[in-house]
Symmetry: C2
């Protein structure tokens, strides 16, 4: 079977075991691996590296597209394999290692990693490990369910290891659109005018002589846990649909809205599913990770086309989609993350960006990454790429967490990933605040009235009143600004502080 | 003389006094005025409006390119003329009015104002007031020393008032390149591949029937105070030149570096002047405001070409340049601020962006706008447009202010305009920190060692040590994070707190 998948005969002699392939990777090397949102990651070579690291000291600097699936990031951290890790992760074990200082983590805008490789401010990978569904007659690599940074890794690494996943649907071939901007000066535009434009090649063009190993594997796509919509996420979706309806009524949006980007996770997925019964049609996505909701909207005939850089599905949805990929192939394109998240394209298309906030504050600043201002959760991912350049930059979150011990709306966020200048709309299950064209104090009024949980509303209003008494364009009581977070650290709840302000 | 300047005869009957023209502007209107960095602003109609507002209640919502010159913003605030003001200002009197809540100010990325007018999330101006050097045979408007948002204001306003400034050099004609992106969907790329590319028209095309008034004036360009380089700014420039030399040595930059953007003000201007004697050649600028340094570099034969959206000069430099504009005309282009600051073009060209920070913190977050976290200084201006999308995002500041009472390097900034994700290089007179590819704790070490003033170094190190003891990816002691600012408020100096941490 793998002869149809490796169509350049001379490469057949490169087939070897994962352990043999992993031997190309030495201590201290920088390794670029495929994988984005747990999709399209190399599955065999990382396990072989983990095995080796458990025997002998072995540390690598690992760059990926984004998060890896199957707990690989955690296993690598546990085995002591990771010296440096970038640009994103989402694994509880790795997260703990980062926060304890055992792994150095660089949290980056996902569109920028390749720019930094290209301009030499980050070292190019010594070895790239790329999952593929096929190798073409020219020796070019056809990725599986994500593109991520794989094209750049394969082109810039000195050596390339291909993991040929025989379990991947052959219908992935043709779904990718590989385009990378040229170097500078003389770089031209990225010629995407519509989300369904194809501007590149179907495979990653490299010199096949760089392929030093091909590892066969037969491991199904990772399945991502996805919580069903609940009362709060449904309310968030309803507020957003009502807002879109109002925008259509005022002719600021048409019935097909604008190209949609939706962040990763259960809340964003539930919000997107809220569009199934909404009075919009011919929707398109220009997004990063395509989740279950993409396919539910495609199946419902609501979504015409989806552009992304990976497909990350829950178990049941994955079975349905990956088992019938031919049904979807002509309505999907997967691009390098540099292109799916490129400021140029996002600004040109006028994307509606919907991402999840960890917390936001009175004035619309958003924390997406740091619990309590200090402990990393996952990373900024693509949220900044989209929020900064979107037509509408929307952040959603439930208004409280941990049974009300935490308010997601606070006087001052403990870490800023998206500034007041980059946030248009905030939504909780309580309601929606449209901050466009408003000054800081006007935003605060709206956020207090519309977004904060009733248990925290009076406390936030008291803070704001006390702050306004001190004057300024963006009033704060500096000695109280972080008091909710401090009380959470000290007492396990923000509410103590809330009552005392 | 004005007959050569108003070349569409039918418009001659529209000539009237400033007071007559100002009568087109009614209470409650939104007015779009030319003006950017104190250049190219309307000079007569605003004075007539101020006069009226002193007699009768008159309030307008004022949108400009950026700051106005000649104290106009302050006079308008004092006369109670301003209800809402956006997207930038730099006037001490207006600043006070904003911080005291008498004027509502909306502080915006300068590239985004027109997008929000276009998509309907801000109201279009009722009346536009545009300074011009000429009106063409077609009735199109030729701006003076800035383009700013004038093209969009003139095209979207219902009525247009032109202030024909007879004191402006006729050599401004031909220097402008007016290009505006189309609406969506179907918007195409902005076809600038090189900073000297011309992609638009030389005048602002509008239906001349919209021109309701032409006011003749004869007021010279505003002169902007510009402090000469001092010991500290020279040291900042030296650190930056040494850094660029190292980048050239490592072949990450060529001898002509990359297109340069430099923020407004004496520090950034002095840094730019530091390139006059540096071993680089054939420099180009793709910037926003072109200041004295642009012309000093042009005169020195160091700079080949400069693209901007306004020319803002000191008195002596203005006399030299505006009196000999023909000498410079073929090496300059002035564009709408949407284009000079456009993420698409900045990212494509790979701009080196040098902007001034009000303060920055241990981890590289930058505050550009808010004194003490609460009181607006000027606004974010174009710094975010450039910093986010630049090849190299550089922020400069002196390490201390007010004779050492203030450290510009703090544990946690009191307001974030540019997040850790968007800042590559920090420079003070003490030294330079290259943050590229570093994790938060690595950045902190470098900033403490290289950038902070010796008077604050041990205090910042103590804070960092205490923070690290609490763990986390980005360690902080939340109860002390803003203590330096609090002590400044309470005692007039950060040093008390610095000593006690």
């Amino acid at each position: 079977m793998h002869h149809q998948r490796i169509r350049l005969d001379s490469l057949h002699e490169k087939i070897m075991s994962a352990a043999q392939a992993a031997a190309f990777i030495h201590d201290g090397m920088t390794v670029g691996m495929s994988g984005f949102g747990g999709a399209g990651d190399a599955k065999a070579v990382p396990l072989a590296l983990i095995e080796r690291a458990r025997q002998d000291p072995l540390k690598i600097n690992l760059i990926t597209g984004a998060s890896l699936g199957r707990g690989l990031d955690g296993q690598m951290a546990e085995a002591g394999l990771l010296a440096r890790r970038m640009p994103f992760q989402g694994d509880p074990v790795l997260r703990k290692a980062i926060n304890e200082g055992r792994v150095v983590f660089i949290d980056q805008h996902l569109s920028e990693v390749v720019e930094q490789l290209r301009d030499g401010s980050l070292p190019n990978p010594d070895v790239a490990v790329i999952e593929a569904v096929a190798i073409t007659e020219q020796g070019h690599i056809v990725p599986t369910s994500s593109v991520g940074n794989s094209a750049s890794f394969a082109q810039t690494a000195r050596q390339v290891i291909v993991e040929l996943n025989l379990a991947s649907s052959p219908y992935f071939e043709g779904m990718h659109d590989i385009f990378l901007p040229h170097g500078r000066p003389g770089r031209g535009p990225i010629p995407i005018i519509s989300p369904d434009d194809r501007i590149g090649t179907q495979a990653i063009a490299i010199d096949p002589a760089k392929i030093v190993a091909i590892v066969l594997c037969d491991t199904p796509e990772s399945a991502i846990p996805m919580l069903p919509p609940d009362h709060e996420t449904q309310a968030i979706a309803d507020h957003l649909v009502a807002f879109f309806e109002q925008e259509v009524e005022h002719e600021r949006l048409g019935r097909s809205l604008a190209p949609l980007q939706v962040g990763v996770g259960s809340i964003a997925n539930a919000v997107m599913c809220g569009l199934i019964d909404a009075p919009f049609s011919d929707l398109v996505q220009y997004s990063e990770v395509l989740q279950d909701s993409t396919f539910e909207l495609l199946d419902a005939g609501k979504l015409k086309f989806a552009s992304g850089c990976s497909i990350t599905l829950s178990g049941p949805c994955g079975e349905r989609v990956f088992g019938n990929l031919d049904k979807y192939a002509d309505r999907l394109v997967l691009r390098p993350q540099e292109i799916s998240n490129h400021p140029e394209v996002i600004r040109r298309l006028g994307v509606i960006a919907i991402n999840t906030a960890l917390e936001f504050d009175l004035y619309g600043n958003v924390n997406s990454t740091h619990v309590g201002g200090t402990h990393i959760m996952n990373g900024i991912g693509g949220s900044g790429d989209f929020a900064r350049n979107a037509l509408l930059s929307i952040f959603v979150t439930k208004s409280i967490a941990k049974d009300g011990a935490i308010s997601r709306v606070v006087p001052m966020v403990s870490h800023v990933d998206h500034t007041e200048h980059d946030v248009d709309i905030l939504v909780t299950e309580q309601g929606l605040a449209d901050l466009r064209g408003l000054a800081p104090k006007e935003r605060a009024e709206l956020i207090i009235n519309n977004c904060v949980h009733p248990d925290y509303r009076e406390a936030l209003r008291s803070y704001f009143t006390a702050a306004c008494a001190k004057g300024g364009h963006t009033p704060h009581v500096l000695s109280k600004a972080l008091s909710w977070h401090i009380n959470l650290q000290e007492t396990g709840s923000m509410q103590v502080a809330a009552a005392s302000v």
